[in-house]
Symmetry: C2
């Protein structure tokens, strides 16, 4: 009951940002928990450090205990942030695909993170023997897929103001869970997150400020008129 309520308050729509908490570990037997226990390490990553690099071998599934991580794809020139993950989420599930155990994206710590690295073979083994666990993994993958598709669609439809409004709403509702939050992202990162250039982001933020939709003070952004912001997000 509480859970379904929780899910309803989560802004899913076109959001970049994940709040889906991995419930799968609750489904494990003591024996399986022990297997994970024996095949894991917990690492701490500092702000700016790389958790995994696109193209490298994925020998582990990563579980973010706490912190904030950006997941992004990159090529020579550009990069696109696929999502931003707070604690409770997993990285590298797509490496479960048979014959493709390579990270398809990179991950970088926005804030200091505690990350649990679980051996991918142990993970696969438990999937093979525990259907309830497998079902939860399926749930997480479905959630990811829906989110990515929805965000893709929204990305193709909306233009700059809508996109940035979207991003601000998601940061506020899904990540910081607060109207006012300290944005420890550079304008460049906010631009990547939104799919715009830093200059455009700055211009739009200024406009939002002039229209009293947000208040900016240093790195702190406070959303004053969420209704208007939602309208901008919906309209385009």
């Amino acid at each position: 009951m509480t859970q379904s309520l929780k899910k309803e308050t989560h802004v899913r729509n076109s959001c970049t940002l994940n709040k889906a908490i991995a419930d799968c570990f609750e489904k494990l037997t003591d024996e399986e928990l022990l297997l994970f226990e024996e095949n894991h390490v917990v690492l701490t990553y500092k702000k700016g450090e790389t958790l995994c690099k696109q193209g490298s071998m994925a020998s582990h599934i990563m579980y973010i205990c706490c912190g904030l991580v950006k997941i992004y794809m990159e090529n020579e020139n550009n990069s696109l942030i696929l999502k931003v993950l707070p604690g409770g989420n997993m990285i590298g599930l797509t490496a479960l695909l048979e014959g493709s155990n390579v990270f398809k994206y990179s991950a970088m710590a926005y804030q200091e993170c505690k990350v649990r690295l679980i051996d991918i073979n142990a993970f696969k083994k438990v999937i093979s023997q525990n259907s309830a666990f497998a079902k939860e993994v399926i749930n997480i993958l479905c959630e990811n897929l829906i989110q990515t598709q929805t965000r893709f669609f929204s990305y193709t439809q909306k233009q700059s103001y809508g996109k940035l409004a979207d991003t601000l709403i998601c940061l506020s509702c899904n990540i910081f869970k607060c109207d006012a939050f300290e944005l420890n992202l550079t304008r460049k990162e906010l631009a990547e997150l939104t799919g715009l250039t830093p200059e455009s982001v700055i211009r739009i933020l200024s406009k939002f400020k002039a229209d009293n939709i947000i208040v900016m003070d240093g790195k702190t952004i406070q959303i004053m008129d969420m209704a208007k912001l939602k309208m901008i997000s919906d309209y385009g």
Copy 2:
């Protein structure tokens, strides 16, 4: 061995178009096959008919026996084709997500299709009891997720020429498996598939024709210079 070879020849990159064949049914016991047998219907959809509508209840998982289907998201004004699926693929897997048994996208037949509709509860039951089956479903979901992410990234990076080159390569390599193919899509549909306007698609096709990259004769398109097309796709 043959399988890994098959996978290598499949152009994955930024392709709209799926070739991933659902292997999962091979993992079923006789009993489970019987359960599916008792809880399925096979329907034939004519060209242009809707297989499922975004927002409607997903009471079935659909397996495309043969034909060609477009999967797309839509709102009042626009639509984005997420992928094009030939026979061997499944529709509606994301409805497996607990508490979200609604289609997130619509599906329409490009060609006449034979579709097997399997009751979603039977499907979920088998996932719960057969880990090998669940594992295959995980494989398919991973494949879908990787494809969607890659396509999203590519969409944000490439511009019109690269996008259309991409689409043509995928049609040729993954769908029709032939350098020359009869394009039973309108320019409007090709535009939707590529994320451009019909006018732009026409202009670019004319340019490709003028540069001897393709030959067009009525509805038939033949790729004359695949290398050049790949270069355009890679370059942008």
